[in-house]
Symmetry: C2
Subunit: 202 residues, 2 copies
Amino acid sequence: MTPAMTRPGGRSAKVAVAVHAAVVELLAEGAPLTVPQVAARAGVNATSVYRRWGDVAGLLADTALVRFGTSSPVPGTGSLRGDLLAWGAALVEEAGRPEELALLRAAVAAGPADPGAPEGFESACSACLTGRSTQAETILAAAQARGEETPTPTRVLDHLVAPVYLRALFGLPAPSVEVLVELLVERLAAPATARATPGARR
Amino acid sequence: MTPAMTRPGGRSAKVAVAVHAAVVELLAEGAPLTVPQVAARAGVNATSVYRRWGDVAGLLADTALVRFGTSSPVPGTGSLRGDLLAWGAALVEEAGRPEELALLRAAVAAGPADPGAPEGFESACSACLTGRSTQAETILAAAQARGEETPTPTRVLDHLVAPVYLRALFGLPAPSVEVLVELLVERLAAPATARATPGARR
């Protein structure tokens, strides 16, 4: 059983919500993250936290999975450009919030894989991008169903998610989502004739 | 005086080399970074380290500035494509090395700016990208001098450096530098007629 598979609304789900909130709060405060501190902030027994999440790596991974998997939902504007613009803007806003940025930083600091993490826990790092990849695939599948030309999910990760996250992590100003999306939609997805019209160049 | 401005070959420069190496080694070992530990590993007095670098944030920033500013030098192949391919491949290799990756992670974890750092010290975060920006500008200026069309330095940061660094930081496989560079050279830099030829599409 993975921690994310608990029933919504039940006791177990309420504990998860409190624990995830405690992790994010402590990180944003710059407090060192330990299981007893998370348990105290969430108002639950440390024993339950150890049993369910294993350790700090497990806590981080599950928090990142839930936080970055459910936030910034797929917009459904009816066009690839519209969806990428709305979703990209949501990513920029999210990566600029102290709590989400602290969670991203902590996940990066924790490394790609924690050998001490119990089996079944995704590493905090990959957990940050799992939800994003799924959302990108959803946006692209909807565009394809409408008959639109699309870039690959990897292109969306490399040329929309990567600039937004890298600039946030390194303290640079956020990129213009319009410019990033123009590249994905007009230069990578549209047919050559559309790309060659002077109006499409920038 | 910034720490990077010491004369090469002098006593002061030798101390800096030993201290930078100690920082990178300790990070790669996963050891907690403290001034006394860095001093001990480098074989210098902790007092000298405090006086010159201030604290751990100053140590990190100066190490990142030197390490990421002097490594992966600009290749000079005679073409924009050739330079970006060689430089991008060097960035991929570097971001995959345990020492450089540990330094990137530590810089990200340290945040965009440390209010406790003494004035004149660049934050470790921005220091990681300072050298990269300078190198990108050098490559682009050389291409412009040859009469080549070029993307902007920001495009190179967003679409070559960002995917390489983000994937390394989050533990994903490295991107194909050829694919990233094709986008920068053929889709963003070349004139529309070149972009419209079927052979240039992918």
